[in-house]
């Protein structure tokens, strides 16, 4: 699904943020990415979601070597990835409903085909009565749930989530983790970057830890 081989990343002339990162995410796997702030978790996620090219090394995504894949194919690859950004990145001028529907709209689906799915998903994450609310009127936790619903609504092949439970109480957090686990059971490969040890300990998923830009495998897949 995802293969990194000796990947290095630096921004401009600065020091390397990631060094010789090598790992494989098998299809259907569930993995936690941990590490202290500034260790390079967000940069690693950016490389995986094709937001930045690596400074060196080889990245293979869905069987495509990105170094030789035509840029015109990137949108198609990106649409197979669901992302929960740490800062949510919701569109403030759209309602919660329209934000969640956005990936389906980008995939060219018709409104009547996805209207019900979007509404059901928003209800499932506890926002059934806030569908028409715009993000600025939602709390941090509600915004986070909209961002998660947007990431999973298209049943992506790969789900990347950066601190997805950082702004919600433990009950909602557990519910969201069950959502990710359900998605994973249906075949989605999941990678969650988090500091939340209780979240990590609640599952027997694989844990990869980044320390000063280098990757350490702490716990192999169950």
């Amino acid at each position: 699904m995802v293969r990194f081989e000796n990947v290095g990343m630096r921004y401009g002339p600065g020091p390397e943020v990631l060094r010789d990162v090598t790992f494989v995410l098998e299809a259907g796997s569930f993995t936690f990415l941990t590490g202290p702030s500034g260790a390079g978790k967000t940069t690693l996620m950016k490389l995986m979601l094709l937001a930045e090219p690596p400074s060196r090394g080889l990245i293979t995504l869905f069987g495509n070597d990105l170094a030789v894949t035509r840029r015109a194919r990137f949108p198609e690859l990106r649409r197979r990835i669901g992302v929960v950004f740490q800062d949510f990145r919701l569109l403030d001028h759209l309602s919660a409903f329209d934000n969640v529907a956005l990936p389906l709209r980008l995939a060219g689906k018709r409104a009547e085909d996805y209207e019900q799915d979007v509404a059901e998903l928003l209800t499932w994450v506890g926002l059934g009565d806030r569908m028409q609310s715009r993000p600025p009127t939602l709390s941090g936790g509600e915004q986070q749930r909209v961002a998660i619903a947007r990431a999973v609504v298209g049943r992506p092949d790969l789900l990347l989530a950066d601190e997805p439970t950082g702004n919600v109480d433990s009950e909602i957090g557990q519910r969201l983790i069950r959502l990710f686990a359900e998605l994973n059971r249906l075949g989605t490969t999941v990678l969650i970057a988090t500091h939340d040890r209780s979240l990590i300990e609640s599952t027997r998923a694989r844990e990869m830890r980044l320390v000063e830009g280098r990757l350490v495998e702490l716990r192999a897949r169950a």
């Binding site: 949108p75 197979r80 569109l91 001028h93 309602s95 409903f97 990936p103 209207e115």
Partner: protein, 299 residues
Amino acid sequence: MSGKKPSGRILPREKGAAPLDVVIGVMAFLAALALGASLIADRAAYSWREGLIGKLTVQIIPPEQGDAAAALSQETAAALTVLRSTDGIVHAAPVSQQDEMALVAPWLGADAMVADLPMPQLIDASVAPGARVDVPTLAAKLKAAAPDSVLDDHSHWIGRLKSLADAVIWSAYGILALIAIATAAAVSFATRAGLQAHHEIVGLLHQMGAHSGFIARAFERHYTLSTLAASAAGASLAALLFIAAGGLEFAGIEPVPFLPPLSLTPTEILWLSAVPIASGLIAWVTARLSVLAALREIY
């Protein structure tokens, strides 16, 4: 199910775009004036040509010595005989004294003193449509029959009028081209500014796998519609001016003597709608190319 149809607007309503609308509106106004001027010049040149082509004028100058009236009468008769016997000429008749006085009245007035001036005798001749008359040969024959005659086929006058009309028309085209370039530049600038203002949204859509064409369409739609609206307002204002000029002429007020009417016919007014249509097309192409170029710079 309590969801609703998705909003069609991927980009938020742009604030602060009024200056661009004003610039586009003013440019469309100027473009419509230039286009109207070219239509007037073209129509005037056509009517001048139509009025003069196929016409010959013979002027017989009164001799300075002897019995001028008798000589004028004799030479006029001789010239008419030559004209009427020339193949291709279907009509030849002397211009009456009264008509000649009316011709010079705008310059010399119409008082008794003018009537005493030694006026030449004019003869109007018409050539059959499609017929060709050998003008130098006819002039030589006329000279032989009436030594004080001068033949004018108006070619010199027509040539100068055509040059003048062509100059006006090509100047208008030049102005239209400059306005098109300025419109494209303004829209390109505004699109770039719009991309900058919405770079987070554009970045997110790009990240979520939106094709460049999808993002470009959001900008195209915005700038094409606002350009269409602003340029339609500018062109409408110009059309109103031309209609007002027509109203003045209808009321008997001649804006500029000896120049063609400054009003446009209803068909020509319709031609002004080409200005917003062309502006919209320019905005559409410019916005699309600008967005696609900017997106190529993103990984």
